[in-house]
């Protein structure tokens, strides 16, 4: 029944998107339909979970939560059927030339290879396993929006370091992933990001068309972008957020900025912010452009602007209301100071991204050269087309006053400056937060193929070579995925730091995953939840506590402790905390994981210890 209800909610979202986009044509219709389906589904899920939190009832739990969501979406679809704006005209795409077919086919082929090789295996990716998917499970397990707060924040509330889980907030993408987990199962969680990758590529192609360029090379550049290839099959949320922003840019820069376009653009910007708080600065900056265009065309600007602001706030409103009520900070867990008003939370400098930039560049001064030596991973890599064709195309476009006067160029400038400024100011120095400017830059490579004939021929050869080189390197870097085990237990034992015995303790088992002695213990959270996600996993760090103190810090009725410890950590440090008679050792094994050797241990919690627990 739960599976059926979940599928009904997903189909209702698709129907809503399909009907509400009825007056659009061509590629623009596909973009609007996809964004409205996602934003509609995520918004209704958040409101159902928010009302559940108010009533202290798990309204979001399947199947009830999915059925309520489906009913609300079908009502919205019926309303959209009756009140549609006039037909929205848009530019058509030119037919691809042969070399463009080759470029798009190559890029799409590698993306498909990546998606298929990941989709036949259980979910992967450090961030997805450590906090995106655990948050999805918690949302539907408890059925209210307060679930992730009690679940993932447990360690922060207990004064422990938080890791970088705030990057998954507020949680719109995670709510959709949770619906997929509960209905189609864990082998379907790649869907939102993969669809978002295609939507992002089409949006960039449409922008190229708006610039009177050709759309196909920009599409190939985005589909073949390493960050897209590696992240599309995983349950992250960067592509979903950036796809929402890119569709908003398509709509707000259209030569015919109708009321319908600007309204959907505001909704898409709100959807991006509901997916990832980090996108707030650039979304607000783009909302200003939406407001300017609406103000320029409306006779009475104030009501039009008010509607746009409401549309922008709607997707994230339930999440922000929850955080404002619980923490007096609507953007929790991000610490924020606005003049004399200070919202309590975690400064972005504590997310560990500044330290992690060593993964991408040898020194912060080397960031401008990053695209030349970029690493290929789910958090890094823009591709050779961006470097060799798109970036020079933007340089050329700045020399043309007619191009500088287009809304696409202005939106590109605003998005690029605000994204870079936010990365420096907060600081958030990681390549994936610059994916929007990179994707928008790729739209400009649709122009260079229209240059002087001698120049164009060389650029075409360069572009094709760049697509092929990026594809070849991506396939090479995908090789570890091709050879990874397919069976769930073996897969997580090899790549997810989870011993099969720990993921099969039984439905309802409550496990404390201690992350004191290795950061890789975070990646074990999802695998420990079991095949049907029916084991509850709590995350925390109790290093230095006595066994009695550790028992007092555990959640009630904890059954087992799971520990991943780096090889250099003395075993005595672990057993000093988890010692008899409070804990009983079950096993300790040393395994070679993707990042060296770690010890994995399981301790049973004795009834004596359970009587002391009660976080």
């Amino acid at each position: 029944m739960s599976a059926f209800a979940g599928v009904v909610a997903i189909v209702a979202a698709a129907v809503f998107g399909f009907i509400a986009s009825r007056c659009w044509r061509g590629v623009e219709r596909a973009l609007v339909a996809a964004v409205l389906a996602y934003v509609g589904l995520a918004t209704v899920l958040s409101w159902v979970g928010g009302i559940g939190a108010l009533w202290r009832r798990g309204l979001l739990r399947l199947p009830g939560g999915a059925l309520i969501t489906a009913a609300a979406l079908l009502v919205a679809a019926a309303a959209a059927w009756r009140h549609l704006p006039r037909e929205q005209k848009s530019e058509r795409w030119a037919r691809p030339w042969r070399w463009e077919v080759a470029a798009v086919t190559t890029a799409a082929g590698v993306l498909t290879l990546s998606v298929v090789s990941h989709a036949i295996r259980p979910p992967a990716g450090f961030d997805a396993l450590s906090y995106h998917l655990p948050m999805s499970i918690a949302l539907f397990h408890e059925g209210t929006l307060t679930a992730p707060v009690s679940f993932i924040h447990a360690q922060w509330l207990a004064g422990q370091p938080p890791g970088n889980f705030p990057l998954s907030y507020p949680g719109a993408a995670e709510s959709v992933d949770g619906l997929l987990l509960g209905s189609l199962g864990e082998y379907s969680v790649w869907l939102p990001q993969t669809v978002a990758a295609v939507v992002l590529a089409l949006a960039v192609g449409q922008l190229a068309v708006s610039l009177h360029g050709r759309p196909w090379l920009p599409v190939a550049a985005v589909l073949g972008c390493p960050l897209v290839i590696f992240q599309a099959p995983s349950a992250y949320n960067d592509l979903v957020a950036v796809a929402c922003l890119a569709v908003a840019v398509v709509l707000l820069t259209s030569s015919d900025a109708t009321r319908g376009r600007l309204l959907v653009a505001a909704l898409a910007l709100g959807g991006a912010v509901a997916t990832k708080t980090v996108m707030l600065p650039v979304a607000v900056a783009l909302l200003v452009i939406v407001g300017v265009r609406a103000g320029l065309r409306a006779r009475r600007a104030a009501p039009a602007l008010l509607i746009l602001v409401v549309a922008f706030l709607a997707p994230a409103a339930a999440w922000w209301a929850r955080d404002a009520a619980m923490f007096r900070n609507p953007l929790f867990p991000v610490a924020l100071s606005l003049g004399p008003v200070h919202f309590q939370g975690l400064p972005t400098s504590t997310y560990g991204l500044a330290a992690q930039q060593r993964n991408f560049v040898p020194t912060p001064l080397a960031w401008p050269a990053y695209p030349v030596f970029e690493k290929f991973s789910d958090t890094s890599g823009y591709g050779a087309v961006f470097l060799v064709v798109a970036a020079p195309a933007v340089l050329l476009s700045t020399l043309r006053p007619a191009l500088r006067r287009t809304w696409v160029w202005r939106a590109w400038l605003v998005a690029t400056l605000v994204s870079l400024a936010a990365a420096v100011a907060f600081p958030l120095p990681t390549p994936r937060f610059q994916l929007l400017p990179v994707a928008l830059t790729c739209a400009f490579c649709g122009l260079v193929t229209q240059l002087w004939s001698s120049y164009r021929r060389i650029v075409v050869v360069l572009a094709l070579t760049a697509v092929l080189v990026t594809a070849a390197v991506a396939v090479d870097r995908l090789r570890p995925t091709f050879t990874a085990p397919i069976d769930r237990a073996s897969f997580y034992a090899a790549t997810g730091y989870v011993e099969p015995a720990a993921s099969r303790l039984g439905a309802g088992a409550r496990i404390w995953d201690d992350v004191s002695w290795s950061d890789y213990a975070f990646a074990a959270v999802y695998g420990l939840s079991g095949t049907h996600q029916d084991q509850r996993v709590f995350v925390g760090a109790l290093d230095g506590r006595t066994p009695r103190q550790a028992c007092g810090a555990l959640p009630t009725r904890t059954d087992a402790i799971y520990v991943v410890a780096d090889a250099e950590v003395p075993p005595a440090r672990v057993t000093a905390t988890y010692a008899e008679p409070m804990f009983t050792p079950v096993f300790t094994v040393s395994r070679l994981g993707p990042h060296g050797v770690q010890r994995r241990s399981l301790f049973a919690v004795t009834p004596r210890c359970q009587r002391l627990s009660g976080l």
Partner: protein, 62 residues
């Protein structure tokens, strides 16, 4: 439909500006550098010369 932006100067016109040819040369050089840095050849060569883990391999090599 608004007019085409004047990025196209006619198919028969050749780029005469030196800076444009310089830009083209830079694009070719950058792509060559990208290919070299991401190819398996360079780490192999480095190993042949006794450098077993070149610094850049931390970023671009498997």
């Amino acid at each position: 439909m608004p007019p085409r932006p004047p990025l196209t100067h006619g198919r028969r016109q050749r780029p005469r500006a030196r800076w444009l040819r310089a830009l083209l040369a830079l694009q070719v050089a950058v792509l060559a550098g990208y290919i070299v840095l991401h190819s398996p050849l360079v780490p192999e060569l480095a190993r042949a010369f006794g450098v077993h883990q070149p610094d850049f391999c931390y970023f671009v090599c498997r």
